[in-house]
């Protein structure tokens, strides 16, 4: 025990100074004493944030360079959007798919949605008019279908985490309705992929409703309570 004769307090420490007035404390160090609070170890700057920064930096530079080339040598088309979209997608895969510790259903749902948006953009902007529509006709419903299968498979294999994944499964199911609605408006011209995606979504939904009715009710209650 040490003493500060200015503040008139006993201080339990082997440190040199009084925490109140920063004057040297009186008394000797007790070699057997372990400090009441651990020593400060400066934050180990983790590798991860640095990796993230580098990836972000490369992404931004690449996008800027592509845009600059595209605009200086203008040929009437914004072709740089294709590589920029791809770069952004790769960035998302690394950032949210690999580096993030979010649950895998979330990753799948996010990456599928992003892929669909980018491919539809490419389809609309850069495909010859007669070949246009491949993204909305085939890619969109089939990507949703695969995503549905993947999340269901994960749920089926890893029963324990059922509750965490069901929300993303429901989200993808709602998305699966979009192509079939677009069919009705003749925007989607090839029906079978959309129908397959829709059919599978309904099939999985029925299974959940029949065999796990409480879990789906709970999940909806939780996510939408207000």
């Amino acid at each position: 025990m040490k003493y500060c004769d200015k503040c008139h307090v006993d201080v339990q420490t082997n440190q040199k100074y009084c925490p109140l007035c920063h004057q040297v404390l009186q008394g000797d160090n007790d070699e057997t004493w372990i400090e009441l609070y651990p020593k400060f170890i400066p934050l180990r700057r983790e590798v991860l944030p640095l990796t993230k920064k580098i990836i972000l930096f490369i992404t931004i530079v690449a996008i800027a360079v592509l845009l600059a080339i595209n605009l200086t040598a203008w040929e009437g088309k914004l072709w740089s959007l294709i590589p920029i979209g791809s770069i952004l997608y790769v960035f998302m895969i690394v950032r949210y798919g690999v580096l993030s510790r979010q649950n895998i259903a979330f990753k799948l749902a996010l990456l599928t949605t992003a892929l669909i948006l980018i491919l539809n953009m490419i389809d609309q902007q850069f495909t010859e008019p007669e070949a246009r529509g491949w993204a909305i006709n085939y890619v969109t419903p089939l990507a949703l279908l695969s995503c549905n299968v993947a999340i269901s498979a994960i749920i089926w294999i890893r029963r324990i985490n059922f509750r965490d994944y069901i929300f993303y499964l429901l989200t993808i199911m709602v998305f699966s309705l979009v192509p079939i609605i677009l069919c009705l408006f003749n925007i989607v011209t090839v029906v079978w992929p959309s129908l397959a995606a829709f059919g599978l979504a309904i099939f999985i939904l029925l299974i959940i409703v029949f065999f796990f009715p409480k879990s789906i009710k709970d999940e909806i209650k939780k996510r939408f309570h207000f």
Binding site: H8, V9, D10, P19, L20, R223
Partner: protein, 433 residues
């Protein structure tokens, strides 16, 4: 215990808890700490076992925060809870990555068990219930003969609905929720501690000395210390400098009030309100006695039941506002953040929590040496203060996000100048820059 988990595997956030996820950041962590020092060195493996047992009794704490469309909620957390060695950082943010999503953490160090908790989970009463149960289980595992004496929630009883009810919603009054506008408070400025660390200085005096001091001034301990805090801020920051712009603002101390003493609630979640004591320090001859008289008046007013209900109902009616409720959470977050910065954070100079007297069964007391509490300090409320009484020890803890210790020094010298014996400890954050 399986049946309990299935029956209640998710919880709505209580009225007070709803705000914290929206406003908390790495600097404004909204966490607090409770520390219990035992007589012997902590056995980490036994502590881990004890935590696992205790969490069966506290399903409402075995949760993590998840986001819904309109509100966040607490969902059953299947991941293991792991006790950790105490870090130097006091009341840091509980990142989901390092803490498996749990909103509280148990640390061990030497002879101490430290509980740090995010305010969305519970208030000081809930935290103390948890750590008391933990110490009980821990001492049992050590093979000691102890009894709970109805002071501890043990695994012999089942969790009840009353324990996780939101008592704010039970006791509020829909007709008494008038909003009373407030002025911005004086803020204590200083040099931020590097790395966003928090300095902690804790003093212990004899409970009797504290009681005698308050009694001699015909005040409660909380009133006395609040007045002393106002006086300390006055002499260290304002006196003879009243003309400065910042110093014209009122100095306001935010004092949480445990509503379980006013209402028959058994809730382990947030059920606190507050009293504020404040003063515009516009003269250079304000005396301590003058401040104390004013503080006593403000406490008498603020502690009236109708006033406590008004403040509670104001919060509840805000939460129940149909426009706010129907807004998706990602937008609501901004509303809450702006509202809290304007109406919460900037209206207080300092917060002072008195956790009161902590009782342990007589059979456990010989194994428990000391208890202390602390709250986080942030960007605006740079200094905060927490006190707790255990047997003959009265523990007072300052936490600060600034380097300067002027307030601590003058505050504690007030006691030593009266000849009161004081023991001090510090985490010496300034030595590790």
């Amino acid at each position: 215990m399986e049946h309990i988990r299935i029956a209640n595997d998710w919880y709505r956030l209580d009225n007070a808890a709803k705000i914290f996820p929206a406003i908390s950041t790495k600097k404004e962590t909204n966490t607090f700490r409770v520390r219990v020092d035992l007589v012997d060195t902590i056995d980490m493996a036994l502590l881990q076992q004890a935590v696992n047992l205790v969490l069966e009794r506290y399903p409402m704490f075995k949760v993590r925060l998840k986001s819904g469309l309109f509100w966040n909620y607490l969902d059953y957390n299947e991941r293991p809870f792991i006790v950790l060695p105490l870090p130097q950082r006091v009341c840091g943010s509980l990142s989901p990555k390092e803490h498996n999503g749990y909103l509280f953490q148990i640390y061990y160090w030497k002879k101490s068990i430290v509980l740090e908790m995010f305010h969305s989970l519970a208030d000081g009463s809930g935290a103390f219930a948890l750590i008391k149960s933990l110490v009980y289980e821990y001492l049992l595992l050590k093979g000691l003969k102890i009894t709970p004496d109805n002071l501890i929630l043990t695994r012999d009883s089942l969790p009840t609905v009353e324990e996780y009810e939101d008592s704010n919603l039970t006791y509020y009054d829909p007709h008494n929720h008038k909003h009373v506008p407030e002025k911005r408070a004086f803020l204590i400025k200083g040099t931020p501690i590097s790395d966003g660390n928090i300095g902690l200085i804790s003093a212990t005096i004899a409970t009797k000395d504290m009681m005698d001091l308050a009694r001699a001034n015909e005040a409660s301990v909380t009133e006395y210390l609040t007045a002393l805090m106002l006086y300390t801020i006055y002499i260290t920051h304002i006196q003879y400098r009243e003309h400065l712009k910042e110093n014209k603002k009122p100095v306001k101390i935010f004092v949480p009030v445990n509503l379980r003493k006013q209402f028959p609630s058994k809730s382990l979640r947030n059920f606190t309100n507050f009293v504020k004591s404040g003063m515009v320090m516009n003269r250079s001859d304000i005396s301590f006695d003058e401040i104390l008289a004013e503080t006593k008046k403000q406490f008498a007013y603020g502690l009236q039941k109708s006033e406590l209900i008004r403040k509670m109902s104001e919060n509840v009616s805000f939460e129940k506002n149909i426009f706010l409720r129907a807004t998706p959470y990602f937008l609501k977050k901004f509303v809450l953040k702006i509202g809290y910065n304007m109406m919460g954070l900037l209206l207080n100079t300092l917060s002072f929590s008195n956790l009161g007297k902590i009782d342990f069964p007589e059979s456990m007391q010989p194994h428990i040496d000391k208890i202390s509490v602390g709250v986080y300090s942030g960007r605006f409320n740079t200094v905060n203060f927490g006190v707790v009484t255990y047997k003959d020890q009265f523990s007072m803890t300052f936490t600060r996000s600034i380097v300067e210790t002027t307030i601590e020094r003058e505050f504690f010298r007030h006691f030593t100048s009266k000849g009161i014996h004081m023991t001090l400890e510090s985490n010496y954050v300034e030595e590790y820059r």
